[in-house]
Amino acid sequence: MYELQDVSKCFGAIQALHPLSLELPTGRTTVLLGPSGCGKSTLLRLLNGLLPPDTGRVLFGGKLLPSGGEALLSVRRRVGYALQGGGLFPHLTGEENVTLMAHHLRWSAAKVRERLGALVELTRFPTDALARYPAQLSGGQRQRVALMRALMLDPDVLLLDEPLGALDPLVRHELQGDLHDIFVRLRKTVVLVTHDLAEAGFLGDNILLMRDGRVVQQGRLEDLETRPADPFVSRFIQAQRPLPGGGAGGGA
């Protein structure tokens, strides 16, 4: 679905992304994994044109990603996007957030209603909460609204930037399960950013472990665990293991 050729990005003096070539296969879930500031969110924003690359080319469906205008807008309508906290519009209800783009494209009321019903069922969102404003929703509910909004136009691609980042552990666990089911059901091309190894392994077919603007290793979780490409990979995996015997750190 995506092909990146020698893509790089700088912010001032900081090289957020070193030249990178990469293919993201259609219908698969790719996870961008790594610590804060490793360039994973920058990479994600290159995929829907929120950021233009400094060098190289981003190909979407074999064609160059447009840099602006109507062409870029139509690409974005085929690429759903949700980020940490949801990025919901606070002045619109949950339903209005989800259907905003459909209304802008003048979908019929029946079509909007039908699609909304399908999404509510898919994301297991309580129907009566659709009329609530973001400020009245729980963190998990807001994330589900963000997901519905990203899926409303039935896009080919879903880009998720730490979608579960700000949630407490129980809600997070529940949503991880739901996301997994959704990915399996929809079979869309998904690119998910996270810094959580277990989440990456659970949701992703293919993991890109990143550090300081470079991809350190690419593969399945087992590959990373059994054949780490360099000491950083081992350290990263080690750091996210459960503490042995409840232990040395004095945790419960």
Binding site: L50, L83, H104, Y133, A135
Partner: protein, 506 residues
Amino acid sequence: MRGAWGVLLVSLLVCACGSASTSGEGAHGVRVGSKKFTESVILGEAATQLARSTGARATHRRELGGTAVLWEALRRGELDVYPEYTGTLRQELLSGRHLPDDAALRAALAEAGLRMSRPLGFNNTYALGMKEAEAQRLGIRRISDLRAHPALRIGFSNEFMDRADGWPALRDSYQLPQQDVRGLDHDLAYRGLESGALQLTDLYSTDAEIAAYGLRVLEDDLHHFPVYDAVLLYRQELEALAPEALAAMLRLEGRVSERDMVTLNAEARLERVPEARVAAGFLASALGITSEVRGDGLASRVWTRTREHLFLVGVSLLAAVVLAVPLGVVAARRPRLGRGVLGLTGVIQTVPSLALLVVMIPLLGIGSRPAIAALFLYSLLPIVRNTAAGLAGIPLEVRESAEALGLPERARLWRIELPMAAPSILAGIQTAAVINVGTATLGALVGAGGYGQPILTGIRLDNAALILEGAIPAAALALLVSGLFDVVERLVVPRGLRLGPASRPR
């Protein structure tokens, strides 16, 4: 695009103001003006009533803010006639021409298409005055008589002490010997005369106090003080357009003596008779002309002022919103340009309102137009700044989400950014509106009417009731406008933005 907005706006503004200020003034109506002191208002009133006595339509723009305002308005043809003084014309308005006498003055005025009546009969200039009884006792009639009384106790206003043509020049030209000369406040000087602490002070030769305190005005036998003969100054074309009305007004020539003027000033200032009635009384006794003086009740006066005030505030605010909100959007989108826009509107804000009003007069004349333009300019800063701040305050993830959805820029602005910035934008408009209500009171200085009119008159006449007649409604209107915006906010600001985090269920 932005240029087109500006042109549209200015033309809207001019249309709105134009239709307002031309209403009620027919092709052959006579427009009389007067300065913001009592004598000028009485003379303006008298001229207006005389013009009306011929059946002509005449309007009186009272209490305009200063000589320059009236002079400009007359030259631009926004006024047809106003009372002026030959001294003011020669020493102030045409001072660069060094005109030696009234004939030269007439010639200079004719070049500008203006005419001057013969003197009305009184000379309002600097003079020296004493209590009548005291002057009689000492045998003082003329200023030169003072030479014989070196021990006289004298108190002059501070201004007269300092002016080059004041006391120092007077002392030199009359060779006066007095040493006991004190500078003090004018009001205190009158009280000093009354108590006997002072024997001589300076005054204007038609001051109301001359009658009130029983003062004798000493004759300026060496003609030291410049002559300030009162005249009517009018546009030449009035001779063709309204000859009868002009002839009637010119009947004032030579008919108003200094004694008459002192009496009329005293009636208006000390007895608080409205100027229109003072003028009518004089016309009846001196010229045998009866004119009907219409006195509005308090409620009707306040209602008229309210309409004028609301017009000034409403039009200027509306125009400011139309320009300032787009400017705020531009300022938020392009920070460098935005700093320029904010800087410029900030500079406008620092221009003193009186100066801004006077600067507007050559461009826009007198009446509501310059006032609306000034208020419009003052309203820009709070609205531009709050619009820009409201847009800049939208969280990055919200802006990114809107962009990533594939919404075009214009739709993002209308559906997401402006609604989210609405509370801030409204607060800016509210600030501008409240400031406008207060500042619009200055509009009376350029003939725009409004609550400033009674305030101005009240200050001139030292009449607290009149000041309150303008100040109380102005304060009430400011509160009302502020309250109104709270209601508007409830209607306009989306409900989702008014929910605090407290209402979020866990």
